[in-house]
């Protein structure tokens, strides 16, 4: 055993274990709390797959059918912005089913020259406060740029978006051209 003044004391302290397995349920507990506080980037694979299907479809099928869905010289400017908000409901939808519906929807818009552009947003954006503090946000999943005669037509297009049927939210804004 160690004696007073014995330098072996510090050696023994240094040799004490440095790790111990935490309780098995602790990880699950923390993950649940993180999800509840929206501190965890949501699983995006279903939406990512959907967007991939849309834009692959738009680029190849839409481009073939409608000339081009991306703005280029001489093409009219988009009139409306459709923001796609993820919700737990839409993130838990079956990805294959969602992708099929998005594909059909995008094809119809591309054929009627109502879809100008769109993109999925990388998860994990920030909102900057006036004091410079960055607050994490992350539920805007992507956007579409639409061609519409007026707000009513844009709203009618937005209402056909499959995102709504799966519990997602949309925000429609007219662009100031």
């Amino acid at each position: 055993m160690m004696q007073p003044g014995d330098d072996r004391l510090t050696d023994a302290l240094r040799r004490l274990p440095r790790t111990e397995p935490p309780p098995p349920e602790l990880e699950r507990r923390i993950l649940e709390q993180m999800r509840a506080e929206r501190l965890l980037r949501p699983r995006r694979w279903s939406v990512r797959l959907s967007f991939a299907a849309i834009f692959a479809f738009v680029t190849f099928t839409g481009g073939y059918v409608a000339g081009s869905v991306r703005p280029r010289d001489g093409s009219p400017s988009p009139t409306h912005l459709l923001l796609v908000y993820d919700t737990p409901a839409v993130l838990s939808a079956k990805p294959e089913q969602l992708a099929q519906e998005y594909g059909r929807w995008a094809m119809q818009l591309a054929e009627s020259r109502q879809l100008a552009d769109g993109a999925e947003l990388v998860p994990g954006g920030v909102v900057l406060r006036p004091d410079g503090q960055a607050v994490h946000t992350g539920n805007v999943g992507g956007y579409f740029l639409l061609h519409a005669r007026d707000d009513a037509q844009a709203l009618a297009i937005a209402r056909t978006c499959p995102h709504l049927r799966y519990g997602g939210l949309l925000e429609l804004r007219r662009l100031r051209n």
Binding site: T10, R14, P22, L26, L31, L40, P42
Partner: protein, 162 residues
Amino acid sequence: MFAMFDDKSFRAVYAEHTPALYLLALRLTRNQTDAADAVQETWLRVARRPDAFTAAASPRAWLCGILINCCREQRRAIALDAEAEDPVHTATPATRLDLEAAVRSLPEGFRQVLVLHDVEGYKHDEIARLLDIESSTSRSQLARARDRLRRTLEGYDDATRG
């Protein structure tokens, strides 16, 4: 671009750091429930500032700093310190268990400095930053903690010989 954990990346950093955090928390709180709570709160604070975690020069030191704050904020150590004034001398012969028990019997201030310096390997100026104390305080606390630890271990020896 902006750091944010997803399920997979969080599980990876959790697996890498939590066993060390948990044992440190156990030594600081002397209580499994409090240690688990402190570790949970630590990870939640990290998740609220993931950019700071990923930018930290030493993620482990960053985590330990947060963990120590969480343990201190629990305040339960204050009540337990009253017990620590009269450490229980067991006759358990296992040296490591004696040493662990003796460390856990130290009052909070001694225990924090001793664990961070002699077990975790932090330097006095690092401990000063972690605990928000002067480096000289860290040195004097360590000397007193070691002295008290030796006296406690003598008590174990007497008990086992007795």
